[in-house]
């Protein structure tokens, strides 16, 4: 019980903050609760399949396979896989981090995982459809093309900026997180 409270202390703190809002700024408090409930529903809708896929990936895909597909020597093919996986996703960016963790643990190259994160964050196909209808296809297409260059550049720069020691630490961290 104590452990549980410790793990959820910030969550509890935020709930208390919201209750305080409800007492002193009732309209805002009520609005924020409504928004939180709506967002939670949205999250609960996308999260089960994402995490089931993550579990299956962890159990079935061998490390050697992952290294071949997205590892150090996977080249442009690995980048394409990372990009496609990220773009085909649904759900908020923070749901991508656990998946990124598994990909790293299984031996994917860091820059490929960062391409995956970049694609997930900004070139998701469902979002592109929304973008086109709201902002027009020129806006969407321009942003999409600039983003492809940007995502790859950012991934490459971070890969270069991290030392071998940094990367080892990173691998230890993600391995420890999903036993």
């Amino acid at each position: 019980m104590k452990k549980l409270i410790k793990r959820y202390k910030y969550a509890l703190l935020m709930m208390i903050v919201n209750v305080i809002l409800l007492l002193f700024l009732p309209t805002m408090g009520r609005n924020s609760m409504k928004l939180t409930v709506n967002n939670t529903k949205e999250m609960l809708l996308v999260i089960p399949p994402i995490f089931v896929l993550l579990g299956l990936l962890d159990v079935w895909v061998k490390r050697e396979t992952m290294i071949k597909l997205m590892g150090e020597k996977s080249g442009i093919f690995g980048m394409l896989i990372a990009f496609t996986m990220g773009s085909a996703a649904a759900g908020p960016l923070y749901a991508a981090f656990p998946i990124a963790g598994i990909l790293l643990k299984k031996g994917s190259k860091l820059s490929n995982v960062l391409i995956f994160i970049g694609a997930w964050s900004t070139t998701k196909i469902p979002l592109l459809l929304f973008e086109t209808s709201a902002m027009g296809w020129r806006f969407m297409a321009t942003r999409f093309m600039v983003n492809i260059v940007g995502i790859v550049t950012i991934a490459y720069l971070i890969e270069k900026a991290l030392s071998i020691k940094d990367k080892e630490e990173l691998h230890q961290r993600v391995s420890a997180m999903s036993q």
Partner: protein, 159 residues
């Protein structure tokens, strides 16, 4: 629609996995639950912060800050607002369109959308727990800077 595809894919693979190896499938589900439970506390924090934030900042306020006449300062404000707030995409684009109608500039909107999607100040603790401090910091800073490049290209292409 997209969620349906995701659910179909997950169920299909789960069924195949079950027929191939029941124990492995159980293990996969256990892992799925454990990975979810590991970040659940942080997810809850994020969800509540987003709720409070969205209730505090209205589209009217944002469009006042980032009107088309607001120039570089407006772009900087748009970038910061986008980096801090966490708005789901299907809300963000209609909001962006509404902001445009409300007088926000294309470049300001482009930078806002870019930082909104790529930079996550609120989710930095989650990101650090997977990627570590260094990679997380670099990724967010680079994405923040990159958002201005996106905006400039948009500014040239769309007048």
């Amino acid at each position: 629609m997209f969620n349906t595809i995701l659910y179909l894919l997950a169920s299909l693979l789960l069924i195949i996995s079950y027929f191939k190896d029941q124990d492995k499938t159980k293990m996969a589900l256990k892992k799925a639950w454990k990975s979810f439970e590991t970040i659940l506390p942080q997810f809850i924090v994020i969800l509540i912060i987003v709720g409070i934030m969205l209730s505090a900042i209205s589209p009217d306020t944002i469009s006042k800050w980032i009107g088309s006449e607001s120039g570089w300062l407006g772009m900087l404000i748009a970038a910061i607002v986008g980096a801090i707030t966490l708005i789901p995409g299907f809300v963000a684009f209609p909001l962006a369109a509404a902001l445009l109608d409300g007088g926000a500039g294309f470049m300001q909107i482009a930078v806002f959308i870019s930082t909104l999607m790529m930079v996550g100040v609120v989710t930095i603790p989650v990101e650090i727990s997977y990627f570590g401090k260094k990679a997380t910091l670099y990724r967010n800073l680079l994405a923040f800077g990159f958002s201005f490049i996106v905006a400039m290209v948009i500014g040239v292409v769309i007048k």
